[in-house]
């Protein structure tokens, strides 16, 4: 009973805040509602017994990604009302994209639910949830069974990251940069000079 109540609470808030993300007038409010949606999705994961994924969702998406979103949206100086003006002409495209996504989800669910051989098609079955915690189960699948796929996706992300940095980084001439090593390696001899001053003469 309590679980069902919690489920409907989290689900309702997730849907409502997801609606608010696209309807809110102020873009910063949109991002804040997005964060609320993430948070409640994490709550749904906890109800499913996937507490590891729930916490990672909060740490990665709420704690890091959404902060950057918020940063960018706060700094942007665009009138979002102007951007919204032509939004209605994209409704058909949006509907098609949404419909395709929905159809795919239904296809996956139906295939999984009603086919007898679906479960045999997984190369490595996940360990029984009753025996290990889901942290261990995920670790087993990610870092042992599918380690190569995991490493390759990591490498691709690394390449993308380096590419982004190389493409956007530029050295501007004439900028005075601090060189910490030079500052630290200064010695007393080269940094100061001690002079003997006789009274009444000055240097």
């Amino acid at each position: 009973m309590l679980t069902a109540f919690a489920f409907y609470l989290f689900a309702a808030i997730t849907l409502l805040s997801a609606m608010m993300v696209i309807t809110a007038r102020n873009p910063v409010h949109s991002v804040l509602f997005l964060i609320l949606a993430f948070f409640n999705a994490a709550g749904l994961f906890v109800l499913l017994g996937a507490e590891f994924i729930a916490m990672i969702l909060v740490i990665v998406y709420v704690g890091a990604v959404a902060v950057l979103f918020l940063f960018v949206v706060m700094m942007l100086d665009i009138s979002f009302a102007d951007l919204r003006k032509g939004a209605m002409q994209y409704v058909p495209v949006g509907l098609i994209a949404g419909g395709v996504l929905l159809a795919e989800l239904i296809a996956v669910f139906v295939a999984w639910r009603f086919s007898n051989s679906a479960e045999q098609n997984i190369a490595v079955p996940t360990p029984d949830a009753a025996e290990v915690t889901n942290t261990e189960a995920l670790g087993q699948v990610l870092y042992t069974d599918y380690i190569y796929a995991f490493q390759i996706s990591g490498l691709i992300l690394l390449v993308a990251m380096i590419g982004a940095i190389v493409l956007t980084h530029r050295r501007r001439p004439g900028v005075r940069k601090q060189k910490i090593e030079e500052q630290v390696s200064r010695t007393q001899e080269e940094a100061m000079e001690i002079q003997k001053v006789t009274p009444g003469t000055g240097i």
């Binding site: 309590l2 102020n26 910063v28 409010h29 804040l32 964060i35 507490e51 590891f52 916490m55 990672i56 909060v58 740490i59 709420v62 704690g63 890091a64 902060v67 918020l70 940063f71 706060m74 915690t133 942290t135 601090q178 910490i180």
Partner: protein
């Protein structure tokens, strides 16, 4: 009816009672932490600290609280009302809910969950929203600068904090806080984790925006930072949240590195003292460290702070994760 009462009513009532006691103790600790800070800093600077309200100034925190309560809450006319009011509430709530998983003694914990340490990390990583929302909603330059500074500072130091936690978890093999405390660590593992303790102590200073990393609210540069437009109760919530966060981070250090409720240095003769006393004493030790470093170090410059986080701590902790996991595998000491 009675069945419903027995399955839902009683546990709920007990839970509420536990939560009430925990929050009561915590708020008392927060109030007297401000007193402790002023007294200790007074002693370090050869002053007396608060001494007129009550004996030894013991009633000073209460007088401060009453003062803040009775003041008028001002919401600037150009501020974004709802966000402006939600921000301090969020900061304070987050500082409180993290305590649900902290074990103060064997079995003395509200929720003994599997992923306790991740929960703590998640809650502390959300703390940045209170600050960034306050900075944005105030609609003022200083507040906005403070909010931006704080956001980038907290995100930067979270990375190295996460890697420090990974090091500890490698040696322990569990995400449950009680198991992290009770798992025995050989002496060489403790030695290996010692540099991580130092990194963690510095990171929690930055994470809670305390001196010498208090740039988000650096008075001499950006007046009051993100708190500049806040007054009375909204300010009090930020203040309480900050101090509750410091106590929380101290407790986290105790859980990860100092052995929680167990007697210090594994001396069994001291086990007759209740675990909660040891836990409090150890937490107090780290809390003292917060005050000590505030009274000792001058404020960092902002670019130096970022350099320390990304160019010193991040590579070092990453390297140390490799060292720790490598030596655990070499000595066959990985927790099963």
């Amino acid at each position: 009816m009675i069945e419903i009462w027995n399955t839902y009513g009683m546990p709920t009532l007990f839970m509420l009672m536990h939560i009430g006691i925990l929050i009561g103790v915590l708020l008392g600790a927060v109030a007297y932490y401000t007193y402790l800070e002023r007294k200790v800093m007074g002693a370090m600077q050869r002053r007396q600290g608060p001494m007129t309200v009550g004996p030894f100034g013991l009633l000073q925190p209460i007088a401060d609280g009453v003062k803040l309560l009775s003041k008028e809450t001002i919401v600037p006319s150009n501020a974004n009302g709802p966000v402006f009011v939600i921000a301090p509430m969020l900061t304070f709530t987050l500082a409180l809910i993290a305590w649900a998983v902290i074990p103060v003694n064997a079995k003395w914990v509200l929720a003994d969950i599997n992923v306790g340490i991740l929960y703590l990390f998640a809650v502390s990583s959300m703390g940045v929203y209170g600050v960034i929302m306050a900075g944005w909603a105030s609609n003022s330059k200083y507040a906005f600068l403070g909010g931006l500074r704080s956001a980038s500072q907290m995100v930067s130091y979270e990375v190295s904090m996460g890697l420090v936690i990974v090091c500890v978890l490698l040696c322990v093999g569990s995400l449950n806080l009680s198991e992290i405390i009770t798992t025995e660590r050989p002496f060489w593992v403790q030695v290996m984790l010692f540099p991580m303790l130092i990194v963690f102590l510095v990171s929690i200073l930055a994470e809670t925006n305390r001196a010498p990393f208090d740039l988000p609210e650096g008075e001499s540069e950006i007046t009051g930072g993100f708190m500049v437009e806040y007054s009375a109760m909204t300010f009090a919530l930020f203040f309480l949240g900050e101090y509750a966060n410091m106590i929380l981070m101290s407790a986290m250090t105790v859980v990860l590195f100092l052995g929680g409720w167990l007697p210090p240095f594994g001396i069994d003769a001291l086990a007759f003292v209740p675990g909660v006393v040891w836990f409090s004493l150890k937490t107090l030790l780290v809390m003292f460290f917060f005050v000590w470093s505030r009274a000792t170090f001058p404020r960092y410059r902002y670019d130096q702070l970022m350099r320390l986080g990304w160019k010193v701590f991040l590579p070092f902790t990453l390297f140390w994760v490799v060292v720790v996991s490598g030596s655990l595998i070499y000595f066959d000491a990985l927790p099963k």
